[in-house]
Subunit: 197 residues, 2 copies
Amino acid sequence: MTSPGAAPAAGTERNRRRDLLIAFADLVLEEGERAATLDAVAARAGVSKGGLLYHFPSQRKLRHGLAEFYLQQLDLEIEELLASGESPARWYLRTSSDYLSELERITAALVAIENTSTDEIRETLQRGRDRWAELIRDELGDDLTVVVIQLGDGIAYNAQVDGTGDAGGSASEFGTSARAERLLDALREYRASESMS
Amino acid sequence: MTSPGAAPAAGTERNRRRDLLIAFADLVLEEGERAATLDAVAARAGVSKGGLLYHFPSQRKLRHGLAEFYLQQLDLEIEELLASGESPARWYLRTSSDYLSELERITAALVAIENTSTDEIRETLQRGRDRWAELIRDELGDDLTVVVIQLGDGIAYNAQVDGTGDAGGSASEFGTSARAERLLDALREYRASESMS
DNA sequence: GTCTATAGATAGATAGAC
DNA sequence: GTCTATCTATCTATAGAC
């Protein structure tokens, strides 16, 4: 936390928690929530079940740990976005299709465990969405913000449904952002002439 | 199947399978895949575990039964759509926000169990998407079809994340289709003047 | 901080009565 | 077709050694 973005090397004590959370998220995505047992998570992270339970005393704590980690990673990504000067809307659409990125994987895992968990997980996802919406709203206004968020989430969903297996691109166009980005460009033009709302 | 749309009364033998599948889907949505055990599903449908296992000899068969049921219900909805003469794109956007409808609930349940299951579940979801895409493509062409599907899926996702608990509307605008439908109208206009591709 | 061992609960599935 | 056992496996979590 003192120097965000500089993750400690894998295997380090300080990084055990992160390794365990990533192992948990990936297991949920690859084999489903049901298979993401304490045993399986521990094994994937290279520790014993007891080791895991030292860091996360219960499944519930493990889930909440992932939610917390998500918000931290989101902060980092938003810092990166602001530093880059890129359009938030474009960034959101583009990264939504990148189902291999760590943040997208964590997000997808939270979505997968959302209804099995406490409301906190759901609220975390809403909070993340609100952070994006705020950034995009400054750029595009209310109308387009809603559809950009919806587009991004639809892209992320389709990328996930299509692209688990081959590590390359999506199996269909529905999990890519190219058309949505072009649409956004077209809308900016359209809007320059006539008001949408 | 002889008279589609006319479902037998609840409790009927002929309808036990359907009751069990709905109980399974709703449990997955409300309490998560993990909680949707054979015991819980049977109890919710009002039968014993043995009774359930007569109709679906394994969890796997239960899941595949739900996938099959989804395709049947999708057929019915598409028949309804075609009979109504409404625009497929508009229909898709509108129904995507209706997370209380049976078909949306079944779809969401399939999405939730997708990565825990055989590839068949994933392929079923892709097949459903392709059916919609085909209908929309006839109306709007390739470019807009992709974004309409993405929008609809994003709406469905947000409707689910927002709206579990209160049975009314979505907790935010992201799970509603109003803006997306207006966007679609605007695009038709825009397109009438200038080509998008 | 990480391990093994184990307790206690519950899952999926089978067998067989009704 | 639906039920009640019941077997077996596996899960979460605890206790305590190292």
